[in-house]
Every structure is written in C-alpha cells, then in structure tokens.
Subunit: 220 residues, 2 copies
DNA sequence: ACAATTTTTTAGATTTGTCTAAAATTATAT
DNA sequence: ATATAATTTTAGACAAATCTAAAAAATTGT
C-alpha cells in the first residue's frame, strides 16, 4: 500500500464512521485537500484492489478488507499518540501532525512492541479507542460534561476549545488530561456543574462544561 | 526534501565517509539498487539545490549543506535505533530496517524530545556516534578485539558475524551488548585473548576476538 | 416534469522518480 | 598510442498521483 492509498482509506473510514452510508467523491476531495477528479482516479485504483465498493456516480464505501486496513492505520496512529504524550511529554494537542507521519511506518513487530511498552493502552490521549490487532475496539463514549447526567464518571480526555486561555484556565484549576471526574450536581439556574476531583470537589461554569470531554467508563 | 532525495544524500555520505573523495555514479546506483541513469538524474536535481558538487563525468561529493542534511538524517536514524533497542527491546541486529523508515519522519520537536527521553546517548547500539543538532560528533574508535593491544578497554557494541550460532554463544558466555571489557592478555600461540568482564575474566578464542567490536573510550 | 444546478467522471497534461537503449566520455591494456 | 572496455550521460518512455477543462450523470426547484 502506498502512503497516498493509506491516506484515502483513512479518509473514507472517518467520513463513513458515523453515518455508515457511502461517501461522496466531493467529501473525500475536501478531506484530502485535493480535486474530485483525483479522487475518482484513486477510488478506481482502490476498487481494483477490492479495498472499496464502488459504482460510478454512486459514491464509495470501504470493503471489509479496506475497513481492516483503515483500523490498522488508526491503531498505529493512536498508539503513537499515546507514546508521544506519555513518553515524550508532548501535549495532547501537538501530537496529531507527527502521528500522521508515524502511522505509515511499516513494521508489525514495531507496533507490537510499542503497544507492550505503553502498557496496552485502550484509548489515545483524546479518548478515542485503540483497535486491537484484529481491528476490534470498544466504541468508547466520549461526551462533553454538559451532556452528562449526575452520577456520570470518567476520565478527562479532551477539550473543544484549545485556545491558550482555556488551557491556562485548566492548569490553574488543576484540571489535567487523564484526571477522573464524577458529576455531583448540575445547577439548573446557570448550567454550572459540580464535579469531584482527586483534590476535592469544584464547581465549573457551563462554558467550561461545554468544552471538556469525558471518556465514560461504560460497564456493559 | 523528498524521501528519495534524503536516501541519495545518505548514500553519498556513506560512500565518501572514509575515502573522502568524490563518489562514482555506479557506486551510488549499486548502493541505491537503481540504475546509473536514474542516479545521474537525481544528482542533477541535488546539484540544482546545491546539496552536492557535481561536474559531468567527474563524480559527485556532498556540499557543506548536503553534509549537514546527511548528518541530520544519520542523527535521526541512530537515535531511533537507540530507542528501539533500549525502550522496545529490539535486538541490536533487527533495528536497521525499521530505523530506515523512522529516520524520514519530519519533526524537530520529536527528535529533541526523543533525544532527551533516551538520556542524550552519544552512540547507537552498533557503537556508531550520534551527531548532535549541529552535525557535530566525536569520531568514535570501533575496533575488533583482535585488533587491540593489551590494556585497551571499551564497551562491546557489535559483532561481525551475526549468525544465530554466534549470538547464542555470546548469550551462553554472558557477553551482551553494552558490556565493558578490558583486554588483559593476548596469547601469542593461538591468538586467544583474556578479557575482564563484570563477572570475572574469561578467555576467548581468536575466532571470537575477530568477531566482536569494542567501542573504545578514547580520552584525548 | 424538466430546466438549471451540482456532482462526478473522463480526457489530456504535468511532475517525480524510474527505466531501457544508445551516445558520449573516460579508463585500461597491450 | 590507440583500440577496447567500462563508465556516465542523454533521449525518450512509463507509472503514480496530481491537475484543468469539458462531458456525463444525478439532483433540485418550481
């Protein structure tokens, strides 16, 4: 698989991740920052290799084979992100660009050993699940604090607003990525939320609650 | 710089590492496993970017700019090799192929942080020196035990013969990469050498001595 | 329903890195 | 010294991935 093919497969996966229907040529072109005609060419090539299901003018979807390729790339991407944050002290918002390159390194042994080195993580620094070797992963529930009911509990895995000001605020309030929070109370009046942290409970404004993602530990 | 350009620069560096003269087109073609005509094309391109000094039919040499590019790639390659061996438990003879891919990842921050994570190593797992950011490195002396006089001391950094049998032998005799040895005595009769190790002194045959490299800690 | 718009595909060109075959240059051997 | 051999370069072609411009198909609005 060429680098470019891998990028297309990944783009198609992400575009069909939630709606599951077939993906439009234009949508892929936008995602890949290229022209629709280039997309058509590449789709033909991927169809030739039966990585995608394709019928002219009818959009495209990943075949099972293609889906597994996508998941293996995503697995690599997310493991590298964990490495960059946990081992090299990158901040979680800097890692994406570098992981985009690292995900294309071809070595099964490397990924196995990296996985072990990292302690077989289940989610990446943004709270997104890491597929296993066979492409199996538990769809994690990742929600804004403002969307959760009282009693919910989870690890803080990301922010909506990555402005320096907001990150500074989090730092000042001793809120860090990875911290576990529990929602104790939601104030009807202003939407502010009381959450418990390791160092006690604090109250956060609605604005904060709509910008912090929790990765819910969903027992099932 | 494209991946291919980087590979050519690295090949030219290695080919002129010891003789320092200009490198022949055929030599590059052999190293790169490509045809001489392809090499000529690429050399023209590199000359255009003033990464090499080139005169038709006269061979090619790296410009200062090209030399710095080569050293930055070598720096990345060797840091990744240290990572693979020290952190991911690859054996030192498996790392080259993977490092060949990793060396092309473009991110200064990544290499800085990797360097720090590894404790700013000075040599790679094969005993070859790691250039610093500015391309400066101390030319390390790496010699076979059989080439060294009594009294020499250094870290074991590599083998000539990487057959499974030889590696097994080393393992059985508790000789591992990184161990420090001192040469105590050389037997005229059969060329066998007595060396001191952490766990006492042992005698190794000439055959072993001609297959083990020491990285000499050369005070100057 | 069908004209207008949007989306998608085709056709033909471009760039990068490669190739083969042939020509130009340099090296070698007697 | 010069014919022969080896090396290097040129010329022209090709595959991959992209582009522009134009044609084909699907969608939308009234």
């Amino acid at each position: 698989m060429t680098l470019s093919e891998e990028d297309y497969i990944k783009a198609i996966y992400h575009l069909s991740e939630f709606n599951s229907k077939s993906v439009a040529t234009n949508a892929i072109a936008e995602q890949m920052k290229t022209k629709p005609s280039s997309v058509t060419d590449m789709i033909k090539k991927l169809a030739e290799k039966s990585l995608v299901n394709y019928k002219k003018y009818q959009g495209v979807s990943l075949s099972e084979k293609g889906r597994l390729v996508a998941l293996s790339i995503i697995r690599k991407h997310r493991l590298w992100e964990v490495f960059l944050v946990d081992k090299l002290n990158f901040s979680w918002d800097e890692v994406h660009v570098v992981a985009e390159q690292l995900e294309h390194i071809k070595s099964d042994a490397l990924i196995d050993k990296l996985d072990a080195h990292l302690g077989f993580p289940k989610v990446d620094p943004h709270g997104d699940p890491i597929p296993n070797k066979d492409g199996v992963f538990t769809k994690s529930v990742k929600k804004l604090i403002s969307e959760l009911p009282v009693g919910s509990q989870g690890a803080c895995v990301g922010v909506n607003d990555s402005s320096a000001a907001f990150l500074k605020f989090l730092d000042k309030n001793k809120i860090a990525l990875g911290d576990t929070f529990k929602i104790l109370e939601i104030e009807e009046f202003d939407g502010s939320v009381t959450i418990s942290t390791r160092s006690g409970s604090i109250r956060i404004s609605k604005q904060i609650a709509t910008n912090l993602f929790l990765e819910i530990v969903d027992e099932e």
